[in-house]
Symmetry: C2
Subunit: 253 residues, 2 copies
């Protein structure tokens, strides 16, 4: 029995409403026509991070375009409050991986940060953005995580909102167990979860002076992920997975 | 200031004790001599999963070998009880990724399993084993996860030990929140954590008949990882991360 493939899900920039006609960009048109082999009349699903999720139908197939017209709204827009992830970029494939998995696991903002031991100084924001969009399309998010311009650790800390607790993944073993710290964020006196962020270091770890400076900040809590030495990208994903299991998702509140 | 590199850590098969002379295999010798550029007299760290962790010194550098002699024991052997991970193999790079991250996150056994929607029918056990060894060397485990021969889902279930709870990652949304299920495994009447395993499906998800059959098994609990649709490899890693945070590691007991 042939399985019916679900309609491709695409992130678009324009506003979405009933009977809205959109010209998809050429790479999306290429994907629908040449990769998914859709035809005029076939359905797609659209979201833009603001107007919810909409069904749409391909009108015609052009050479480099395939205009679509929206039908009905499938899901209303919802806020998707998620943790921020500040991370020292690692090798290209691992950075791709961090961005993809962070989007899947619900991060709302990604902040590339340069630390003393960070080897990668070239950040491809377009590539990060494309990976975040693709993962968001695939995992049925209604938003795409924001991706910040890279900054130094000093500047990130200077601009960090003090009411968003920053859990620093401390590979020295001095951090508190992450489950305990997340549980502490669970319900404040206001009855809601406190917003948080994670910071993961580069391949060589944070510099000692960096860790000392971080520990002095009131909004920082050092956390540990157990006895093994995790690669930078593993630590980022493990932290977000714990957030999802302990604080995230509507079936957990 | 130049950072001193930690001594390379290698998994070896032979027994380890004081003043033991070992001929490393040619790929390990190549790694030490040509990649790490070590010389006679330089130190390495060895473990074999049975005799703890030992320091050792390179005696001489040969063409395709570099014999080493152990010095003192750095860490005694410890059992490393971890969850089992049964998973439907996905594309090559994602399977590599599952194996590497599972080793880092403390899985004690990996069971490749063929389900109805599994596309990959060729499993490279040597490659899986090499990835598991490399990740174990890097993350300072004292053991390497066991890697089983691939079996069908039916056979895996028939041979599954009934006292090891199997948490099936159920992408239909019918599962219980994973944090809740893991908390329930925390301390039994015997005062210790109950052993568990995870099962993740293939790219297309489990077949409905498979899920129905799994749900009828007494040792199975369906679990969910939140509202988003996770890729197969993300689900595997997220589940193991939750296990580590909630049940794993000596600083959590």
């Amino acid at each position: 029995m042939a399985k019916t493939k679900p309609a491709p899900r695409l992130f678009v920039e324009p506003g979405l409403g009933p009977e809205t006609r959109l010209a998809l960009d050429s790479s999306q048109a290429h994907y629908l026509v040449h990769v998914m082999r859709l035809k005029a009349g076939d359905g797609v699903v659209l979201f833009n991070g603001r107007d919810g999720e909409w069904s749409a139908v391909i009108e015609t197939i052009g050479k480099n375009n395939c205009p679509v017209t929206t039908g009905k709204r499938l899901r209303p827009q919802e806020t998707e409050p998620g943790p921020w992830l500040a991370f020292a970029p690692v090798k290209k494939s691992q950075t791709d991986f961090i961005v993809e998995k962070a989007a899947e696991l619900g991060a709302s903002r990604l902040c590339p940060v340069f630390t003393r031991n960070t080897n990668s100084t070239r950040i491809n924001l377009d590539r990060m953005r494309a990976n975040a969009v693709e993962a968001s399309e695939q995992c049925r998010r209604l938003t795409v995580p924001a991706i910040d311009e890279p900054v130094t650790l000093e500047r990130l800390m200077a601009g960090w909102p003090v009411d968003r607790r920053l859990l620093v993944l401390d590979e020295t073993g001095a951090g508190q167990p992450i489950a305990k710290v997340l549980a502490g964020l669970r319900k404040g006196s206001d009855g809601i979860f406190h917003e948080c962020g994670f910071l993961t270091g580069p391949e060589g770890g944070f510099d000692k002076a960096e860790l000392d400076a971080l520990r002095k900040l009131d909004f920082v809590t050092g956390v540990g992920l157990g006895p093994r030495v995790l690669r930078a990208e593993t630590a980022a994903i493990a932290a977000l997975s714990c957030w999802q299991a302990l604080l995230g998702g509507d079936n957990y509140s």
